[in-house]
């Protein structure tokens, strides 16, 4: 659906996106995930047409769109701060794109009605943006985009300005919407939980480079780089004397209270954290200047104490090699 071929972006000589290629499949929910300043928004803006790649080409549906202005591209962007037109009602905002494309009035009406229905905005159609809450404004921004029936919907941290509870609800709604519309979503976020929950595939980015591309499961279970291993979920990174580096997830570590039989590592419990459904031991390792986190569920019946000397074990299959 979308192909980025060897694209690179520099601002005033500073590389923001290093040369990279990426293919986005039709109908998939792809998330660009990374900390702020990693270049994810720049990639989104290049796909939308607001930035030109310094080098490289962008294909949309097999057509080279690198030089095409945003208004000639068959995709829509949902802006981070919604960018609703303040002098237009909800309905007029949604109508705007259809009017610009000179779509017949009868079809305009139909499409507006459908977009309003899909985003549950019916009682708010005649309101102005400043009369709406953040979550409602977000819905209008999405309705305005999908009314154009784009092949691809680009979303730039669309839930970033909302509070946690609302964000959780809208995440589920957006995922649902993407399934029922069947269109390609390219989603930008710095929230790894959000990315894990919604995406078909995740592209992890750091300092303008792609660290890893994969399904949420692949990325969680088989991180390929140190950054990917530590950015997604909690992880423990171990260094071997031969320079080998590997990661073991907290839930894969096994604490051993009787460490007479040589376990893989030993350490002292620093802290015990209860989180309801799980609890965690923070253990300072004996021969390394680092702490590891062990996650235990309800099946753990042992009594652990702060200051207790324990052994730490894991199965070899839980080790995930990182780096070259």
């Amino acid at each position: 659906m979308i192909q980025l071929v060897n694209i690179e972006k520099q601002f005033a000589g500073q590389p923001v996106v290093h040369p990279l290629s990426l293919t986005i499949e039709e109908g998939e929910f792809l998330t660009l995930l990374g900390p702020s300043g990693c270049g994810k928004t720049t990639i989104l803006r290049m796909i939308a047409g607001f930035e030109q790649p310094t080098v490289g080409e962008i294909f949309l549906d097999g057509k080279n769109v690198t030089e095409l202005p945003p208004n000639k591209r068959d995709l829509n962007l949902v802006f981070q701060h919604y960018a609703l037109f303040p002098h237009m009602t909800v309905e007029q905002n949604i109508q705007f794109g259809l009017k610009m494309k000179k779509i017949p009035a009868a079809e305009q009406k139909e499409r507006i009605a459908e977009a309003i229905r899909l985003t549950q905005l019916t009682p708010l159609a005649k309101r102005y943006p400043h009369q709406l809450s953040g979550g409602q404004q977000q819905r209008v921004a999405i309705a305005r985009a999908i009314a154009n029936k784009p092949r691809v919907l680009l979303l730039d941290e669309p839930l970033g300005a909302l509070d946690l509870q609302l964000r959780k609800n809208l995440q589920a709604e957006l995922k649902q919407l993407q399934r029922s519309l069947g269109i390609t979503f390219v989603y930008v976020t710095h929230d790894q939980e959000e990315a894990m929950m919604m995406s078909d595939r995740i592209v992890i980015m750091n300092t303008g480079k792609i660290e890893q591309i994969g399904t949420p499961k692949e990325i969680y279970n088989r991180p390929q780089t140190l950054f990917a291993a530590t950015f997604i979920g909690e992880n423990n990174v171990f260094n071997e004397e031969d320079g080998r580096m590997f990661a073991v997830r907290p839930e894969k570590l096994i604490p051993v209270s009787d460490n007479s039989r040589g376990s893989k590592r030993t350490g002292v419990i620093q802290d015990i954290v209860y989180l309801g459904n799980v609890h965690k031991l923070v253990v300072h390792l004996d021969h390394e200047q680092t702490s590891v986190s062990i996650c235990l569920d309800f099946t753990d019946e042992d009594t652990w104490q702060i200051g207790q000397q324990i052994g730490i074990d894991w199965s070899d299959a839980s080790e995930v090699n990182i780096g070259p």
Binding site: F50, N71, A83, F85, P86, F96, M100, K101, N148
Partner: protein, 267 residues
């Protein structure tokens, strides 16, 4: 937190206000004076306002002033707005261009007037209404530019990008999104230009010719023969119209700037 203010400070501010408004107040009071001699109060009357409107010279001067003000306002508003839009991105790069646009605001009127007179006579351009209009456009553009540019920089790029993303061409984006957003600024700039034109004496005085006497020039001519209550009446009207227009311009400019720092006019 309330702070105790020295009573001397508040007395001082009353003195300053009195200092500013006393002359205006004098004109206002004496425009209602029955006596022809300005310095003596003899009773309240509206007759000077009446005789003002039946005075052909006053009406001619008023018509000239209005023609010049309306024409120069339209031209200056269009040119100033276009300049503000065109220089929107260039500004960050060129401080020199920005400085040059502010120049007519800081150059003394007498120099503006003199230089324009020199220019017109150099090209043998006959002095009259058109030379005044050109002169007024020259300084009004700067004011319109400053007001509209501040409005544009306040609106950001997101709305226009959203419009483009929804399929609007650059012209459609301007027509449906940019213009409605900056409209209060454009109107405020226009009102400012109109007020400046109506009030201007110095520059008009240099570049006016026969049959192009504006109200301020007419008033100046009258004063040479002594201040009559009619002048007071005329001035009172002009003060109220000007203040009203300035307040309207301020209100328009700050409207929609909710939450942001209210911008002030550059004088």
């Amino acid at each position: 937190m309330k702070q105790k203010t020295n009573p001397l400070l508040s007395i001082h501010s009353y003195i300053v206000i009195a200092f500013i408004y006393l002359p205006v107040l004098m004109i206002l009071i004496f425009s209602f004076n029955t006596s022809r001699i300005s310095s003596k109060w003899e009773g309240f009357t509206f007759k000077w306002y009446g005789s003002l409107f039946s005075n052909r010279y006053v009406m001619d001067a008023l018509m000239n002033s209005l023609t010049i003000a309306i024409t120069s306002t339209i031209i200056a508003t269009v040119l100033g707005t276009i300049a503000a839009i065109a220089l929107r991105n260039a500004l960050k790069k060129s401080k020199t261009v920005l400085g040059m646009l502010y120049l007519p605001i800081v150059v003394p009127d007498i120099i503006m007037g003199l230089s324009l007179l020199l220019l017109f006579s150099q090209f043998h351009f006959p002095l009259g209404k058109w030379t005044i209009i050109i002169a007024h456009v020259t300084f009004s553009i700067s004011y319109v530019y400053v007001i509209v540019a501040s409005r544009i920089s306040g609106m950001g790029k997101q709305l226009e990008e959203a419009a483009q993303d929804l399929g609007a061409s650059p012209w459609q984006t301007f027509r449906h999104i940019t213009l409605p957003a900056i409209w209060p600024g454009v109107l405020a700039g226009a009102i400012m230009a109109f007020t400046l034109s109506i009030d201007d004496f110095m520059i008009s005085f240099f570049v006016s010719g026969p049959n192009s006497t504006t109200l301020p020039i007419y008033i100046y001519g009258l004063v040479k023969r002594g201040i009559s209550p009619e002048i007071n009446a005329l001035c009172t009207i002009m003060i109220f119209v000007s203040v009203g227009l300035i307040l309207l311009a301020q209100w328009l400019q700050n409207k929609g700037n909710r939450g942001k720092k209210a911008s002030t006019l550059p004088f």
